[in-house]
Every structure is written in C-alpha cells, then in structure tokens.
C-alpha cells in the first residue's frame, strides 16, 4: 500500500513478477548461464546502485526474500506471477507455474498465478492447459511468441494453432493474454519485435484482453497504432518503467506516447521483480511529473488518477479484484501477524 502525503491509500497490483531458479545447478547448458547473466546486466544497469544485489543472490533470491521485497519493503499489495519455462536451458525450468504455486499457497491473498501455453504443443498442450486451469483457477497466461521450439523459430498469434489455444483459453475463463513483445531471446532472422499478430488476435477474440508486455518496445510506434485500433489491447510497463530514474526525460517521452495513444485505462504497472524491485519504482512513479515541453508536445497528462489506474485499478479490473474487500482481508492478516 502506498500512502500519499495527504494520507490517501493507493492499492498496488504488480502486473509482472518472477520467482526463478537461476543457480548453476539448474543450468542445462551455457544458455542457462547466459540467460540469467543477461538479466543480471539489466539489473545492474537500471536498479539503483545502493539496492543492487550480488550475482549469487540474483541467481536465487528465494520465496521469503521475494515476499519481503514486494510486500514489506515494497508497496505492492498483490502481484501477478508470469511464468517463463525455458526448459531447454534449465533442468527444472526457469520460473514455472508449479514453483510459483508454492508461494501462492502460502500467501493466497497476495498472488495471482498465471499459466503459459505454447500452441506448438498441440493436443497435449491443450490438455495441459485444461489441467492447469482446473488446478489453479487461471485467469491469465504469459506467452513468448519468439521462443524457439525444435525447428520452429517462434510463432504468431494469428497462426491457426494459436487460434485454437486462444479459443480454449476463452472457454476456460482465461481472459488475460500477456504477450512478451520486447527485448527478446533467440531472434535469429525473424523480426521478433513484430506486434502485428496482436492486431489480428485482438480482432478475432474481442472477449480476451491482450496485454503487450514491455509495450512492444522497441516497436512502440507500431504498438501504439494497433492499441488505438483495438479496445482490448493493453500495455505492460515492465522494463519501460525502470528508465524513470536514470533517464527520466526518456521515460517521460515513452509514458506520454502511451498515454496519448492508449490512454490511462490501458496501462499496467509491473516491476519485473527480481530484475527490479517495487520500492523505488512505485516511489518514483508516484513522484513523477511530465516535463512541460513534453506535455505541450503530446497533450498527455500523468495525473494522480492516471497513476492510481496504472498502479492497480486497471489490473484489478482485468483480474476481478475487489480492492475494498482485499484491503480488509490484508489488514486482518496484518493484525493477526502482529498479535502472534
């Protein structure tokens, strides 16, 4: 919970968090090491110096550290797990639904569990999706369209196979489709940043929400265009937001483009924890004001109301979170902990 100077409580839903195992014993090959080391590069680049972790901690920070960083040191009230399997790089997977479920069981009011699917898994994948949806009551999935699989160098949401999975997802009540379109792994010669397939899928599935993670950066222009055409396309701010501290002017340009094209109802805060931590991200966003010259250029405004939507209200709408009820439950939990 974030409290403004005036005492107003702002409910924070972190739209993008991970609990991974990047330890050497989980590396299947050199790619496993290179993948986590690349993440560590992102961490050391944009996480403030005084809050940076050692590489060893970054490899495996553990469930309790995560809980503490998000909800005790950080302002998050709830967080959405976005799994990343990468079974070709990691013996037990990098960050799976099963691993995340352990924390969800321990802190059921804090976490929302998202699943994943890959249309190239065919019937077996559909069966797995059914099973995961039944076990975990999934409302969302995270997809990596640029991921390699066998001979395939990725897929598009407009592919017939993908359409089949989206149909099934809708039937199972999985209405939030998070798609990774941003800094990517394994782009050989295809344009892995291409966001055109989102347009197609969003038109075909008007009852699903498509949350484009990392806002299609570095294809912001294409993404903005598509998002204005489709009412069910959203932007996830993970990776864009951390620029707020060491490149505030650049962040101002990005957020004002997003506000201008998508509007404040279509943007979701995400820390991308453990790459970055919610404490400073939320503080900086709450304190952020668009420079006057950019406001003049774009007409975009980042008001307190816009910040509240980005930080929690929009995600609450997508995931049917009753904020007042949740506040009461979390307050009760805190009191019982204090009483122990």
């Amino acid at each position: 919970m974030y409290r403004t100077k005036d005492g107003e409580e702002i409910f924070i839903i972190d739209g993008h968090v991970h609990l991974w195992d990047g330890r050497p014993e989980n590396w299947k090959n050199v790619h496993g090491q290179q993948f986590i080391d690349c993440f560590y590069g992102y961490h050391t680049f944009l996480q403030p110096k005084d809050r940076q972790w050692s590489r060893e901690k970054f490899y495996n920070y553990g469930a309790e550290t995560m809980y503490n960083d998000l909800f005790v040191q950080g302002y998050d009230d709830m967080a959405i797990f976005q799994p990343t399997y990468l079974k070709d790089f990691y013996v037990n997977g990098f960050n799976t639904l099963e691993q995340n479920a352990v924390l969800k069981t321990k802190y059921p009011d804090r976490f929302i569990l998202n699943g994943a699917f890959d249309p190239r898994d065919g019937e077996a994948g559909l069966a797995r999706l059914e099973e995961d949806a039944a076990t975990h009551g999934l409302k969302g999935v995270k997809l990596y369209t640029a991921e390699w699989k066998g001979d395939s160098k990725g897929y598009k949401l407009s592919d017939p196979g993908a359409q089949k999975f989206l149909e099934r997802a809708e039937k199972l009540g999985i209405k939030n489709i998070h798609v990774h379109k941003g800094p990517t792994i394994l782009p050989l010669n295809r344009d892995a940043f291409d966001v055109a397939d989102i347009d197609d899928a969003a038109t075909s599935f008007p009852n699903l929400n498509f949350i484009v993670e990392h806002c299609g950066l570095p294809r912001l222009d294409d993404f903005c265009w598509i998002a204005t055409q489709e009412t069910n396309v959203y932007g996830g701010l993970a990776v864009a937001l951390p620029f707020i501290r060491n490149q505030p002017k650049y962040f101002a340009h990005v957020i004002s483009q997003l506000l201008m094209w998508l509007g404040e109802d279509k943007l979701l805060y995400g820390s991308d924890y453990g790459i970055w931590t919610p404490d400073w991200l939320v503080e900086d966003l709450m304190a952020f004001e668009l420079p006057e010259d950019i406001t003049r250029e774009t007409g975009a405004k980042l008001t307190l109301q816009a910040k509240k939507k980005i930080l929690g209200l929009n995600a609450a709408r997508l995931y049917d979170v009753d904020i007042e009820a949740k506040k009461a439950v979390l307050a009760d939990a805190r009191q019982s902990v204090a009483a122990e």
């Binding site: 050391t44 222009d221 490149q247 340009h253």
Partner: protein, 259 residues
C-alpha cells in the same frame, strides 16, 4: 623513381580503426567503435587484418551481428594494402556460425545452414530508413531549439541547409543527416522530406515531427539498453590501481569459474 612508403603496422592499425569508425550498428545507427564493440585490431606484415568484436549480450540478434561483421570486413578490405580481413565475434550464441561465415565469405543464409530464411538486404534497407528518420529528427530538433521558424525550415533546400550557420554540434548533425539523405532519396531538393523524398507541408509538419519522434523513442530504447548491458557485461569501470580486491571483484569472477 620513388618507392611506395610502407606504413608501419601502427599507422595501418590506425587506418583500420578509422574505417571501422564509419561502420554502424544498423539498429542503433551508432559507430561500432564508439559503442565499444571492437576490442582488438591486429595488422600483420603481409597486410592481413584481424578484428575482434563483442556485443552487449550473448543473445544479440544474429542478423545484426552478421551485418556488422560483414560491413567491417568490407570496410577494411577497401584499404589498398589490406590483403585479407578476418572478423571474429566473441561471447555470442552464434559466434561459431558467424565467424565461419566471415572466414568463408558466406551469405547470411548459408552461414546458418538454412536455419535462417530472412533477407539481410531487406533488413539493411529498413534500418537505413530508420537512421535517415532519426538523423533528420536530430537536425530539426536542433534547429527548433535555436528558435528557428518552422516555415523557414520547410523552405530550406539541401544546399541552403548545408550553408546554414548552426554551430559545431549542428554541423555534425547536418553532415550526418545529409550523408544518408543522399542515399535514401537522392541529391538535391527540399532539405526535410518524407521517405519518398516529398517536401513536408505546413499541415503535415506536426504529424511528421511526431512520427520522427517515435522512431527516436524506439531506437533510443535499444541504444540505452545496449550501452547499459555492454557496460554491465564487461564491467567497464576501470579498476583502481593497487586497490585491494573487494567483494564485487569476486562476484565478477563468478561466471568465469563456471559450474
């Protein structure tokens, strides 16, 4: 009769660095030497040149890596004394395929044994166009910051822009822009044009600037990440001479230790 003076290895290496300085990362439109990608240049007595380079991550797009390697090879072979140019990429997922492709002079597609089906030339054209837009934006932004009238900017032709007194930084930006403008839309005509070479109208001016601005936002995202990741990956901060190693130094050693 005068003998052709043989440049010493050091002078030749300098020439190689100069040539490499003109090679850009296609995505970022910045010099591969200024980005810190090139780590070593060796020139043998027989004129054989060896270049080593690295990229910000192990995962950087193979097509861009291949383009840069190929551009470097060509740039060096244009030196009259260069007998061969070997370009070697290190610490990259596709280092082996790219280095083999360079050594054998293969096309991108062949270097990847049919794994790749893209057309590198198309990618090259796409990114030259983006660079053109980005350079144009930098010039216009610079001139507007000098309080110049937009209508007067629209009326400028290429020669008039070249003759403008814009200060040293402005000069650099104008030269960079006009270099590429010539490649993209040909010589002469209005200084500021769309991708097809057409002048920008008064009504279309704001939209034109806004679209150029978005190109800048996109490429700057990549550029900032690349610079940050490169520094993080290779720990660019120079060590303090004589200082005792700290915890950070041991942590940095970790990946080298392996499993």
């Amino acid at each position: 009769m005068t003998a052709v003076a043989v440049a010493p290895a050091e002078a030749r290496a300098r020439q190689v660095w100069d040539r490499l300085g003109a090679v850009t990362d296609p995505e970022l439109d910045e010099s591969v030497t200024e980005l810190g990608f090139v780590t070593d240049v060796d020139v043998a007595d027989d004129g054989a040149v060896q270049i080593r380079f690295r990229l910000p991550t192990y995962w950087c797009a193979a097509n861009f890596a291949f383009l840069m390697a190929d551009d470097m090879r060509r740039a060096v072979l244009a030196l009259p004394w260069a007998t061969s140019a070997q370009v070697e990429l290190g610490d990259h997922m596709y280092a082996e395929a790219i280095n083999r492709g360079m050594a054998q002079g293969l096309a991108f597609r062949d270097a990847f044994d049919g794994e790749a089906d893209g057309d590198l030339e198309e990618i090259r054209r796409t990114f030259i166009l983006k660079a053109f837009q980005r350079r144009q934006e930098a010039v216009i932004r610079h001139l507007l910051d000098q309080d110049r009238d937009p209508a007067a900017l629209r009326a400028l032709d290429v020669d008039a822009l070249r003759g403008l007194d814009v200060g040293a930084e402005g000069r650099r930006l104008v030269d960079r822009y006009l270099d590429l403008r010539q490649d993209v839309v040909g010589a002469g005509g209005p200084a500021f044009v769309d991708d097809g070479g057409a002048a920008i109208t008064a009504e279309g001016w704001q939209a034109h600037l806004a679209s150029l601005r978005r190109v800048w936002i996109n490429t700057e995202f990549n550029g900032a990440l690349c610079r940050g990741l490169l520094a993080a990956r290779f720990s660019e901060d120079p060590p303090v001479p004589g200082a005792e190693p700290t915890l950070v130094d041991f942590i940095r050693q970790l990946p080298a230790d392996g499993r």
